[in-house]
């Protein structure tokens, strides 16, 4: 819809065509990326849990996901932050699926933050830290609405209502479920998590201790 309305605006006011083309490009690339990730989740679910795993640097995946999310974040007026500088051991995951999960989740949270109108005060942080359960990587923001109970309720409501995360987002938040589906094909899932007192959604990833070189 963004593309159609932006194109119509450009036709009504041809003098703003440059900005319109840029916005149309961002919207179409975002849409294609989300569709790709959704298809990837369906394919992964259809194949079962036989994705080829490899040693993956979570910091590098978060960095690439942040880079992919940047144009959409700018379009929605959301500030992205990356906190992936800590030395974290590699994890055993399917890299493409892991990055797709973070990108899908990121899009959903960018949309959610923008729909509260609190984007200036609330940056979205892609972060990783170590916990006693494993390597915890995800996206965090200052929204207290992200609670275990609210997330569980939204999972129950998904597919049955238009706004499963009603206190978090005005949209369907499909990216959250696509991310969860992708992670489940790699034997993990999204969980409500905290990083430096910020709420967020993250996955616990199994570290590959034999490859820990640092």
């Amino acid at each position: 819809m963004h593309i159609a309305r932006r194109a119509e605006l450009s036709r009504l006011h041809p003098q703003a065509q440059g900005q319109s083309l840029e916005d149309i490009l961002i919207s179409s690339e975002t849409a294609l990326s989300l569709i790709d990730n959704y298809v990837l989740s369906l394919q992964a679910m259809a194949r079962g849990q036989d994705l080829i795993r490899e040693p993956v640097s979570v910091s590098a995946v978060l960095h690439d996901a942040a880079h992919e999310l940047l144009p959409a974040a700018k379009q929605y007026g959301v500030t992205l932050e990356l906190d992936a500088g800590a030395k974290i051991e590699p994890v055993s995951m399917h890299r493409t699926s892991l990055q797709a999960a973070f990108v899908s989740l990121g899009h959903a949270l960018i949309e959610a933050l923008a729909s509260t109108g609190a984007t200036a005060q609330t940056p979205l942080k892609l972060a990783v830290h170590r916990s006693r359960y494993g390597v915890v990587a995800g996206l965090y923001c200052g929204r207290e609405e992200i609670t275990v109970e609210a997330f569980r309720r939204s999972q129950l409501l998904q597919g049955n209502v238009r706004q499963p995360h009603i206190n978090l987002s005005a949209a369907a938040g499909a990216g959250v479920f696509v991310a969860d589906a992708l992670l489940k094909t790699m034997s993990t899932s999204l969980k409500v998590s905290r990083h430096h007192k910020q709420c967020g959604l993250a996955a616990i990833l199994p570290p590959l201790n034999q490859l820990q070189l640092v």
């Binding site: 819809m1 963004h2 159609a4 309305r5 932006r6 119509e8 605006l9 009504l12 006011h13 703003a16 916005d23 919207s27 379009q75 929605y76 007026g77 949309e111 959610a112 923008a114 729909s115 509260t116 109108g117 984007t119 238009r162 706004q163 009603i166 206190n167 978090l168 987002s169 005005a170 949209a171």
Partner: protein, 127 residues
């Protein structure tokens, strides 16, 4: 020209609507949530409200109830442009039109900018 209160949580779409309305000579106040929209109306009384029903936390219906309780805002035209198709709201038609005074209801994907501009002009031009 009119002062438009645009209650729209989808920022890129709100920017497009605002740009079209400003180009048509209107002034626009964009708000993403019901609560901030009520505050905005209190700061500067709008001539017309464009409203999405699907908002974060408080819904557009809650906004309508709140908005219509204020005597001075009783007659401000409200046009609902929503992602919810009209047929899904058939049972609420009477509530929206008669009780909450919604001027018109449009399914957003089918509402072109040119139609939106015409609706705003028609609703804010004295007959």
């Amino acid at each position: 020209m009119a002062h438009v209160l645009l209650v729209e949580p989808d920022k890129p779409l709100a920017d497009i609507y605002a740009e079209a309305l400003i180009n048509a000579g209107h002034t626009v106040d964009i708000r993403a949530t019901a609560q901030s929209a009520v505050f905005a109306a209190d700061d500067h009384m709008p001539d017309i409200v464009l409203l999405e029903l699907q908002l974060t936390a408080h819904s557009g219906i809650e906004f309508l109830y709140e908005f219509r309780t204020y005597h001075e805002w009783e007659h401000i035209p409200i046009i609902v442009t929503s992602h919810v198709p009209a047929h899904e709201l058939q049972s609420s038609h009477k509530l929206l039109k008669e009780q909450l005074g919604v001027t018109a209801y449009y399914y957003k994907p089918q509402l072109r900018l040119s139609d939106l501009l015409r609706l705003v002009k028609d609703a804010t031009t004295p007959s």
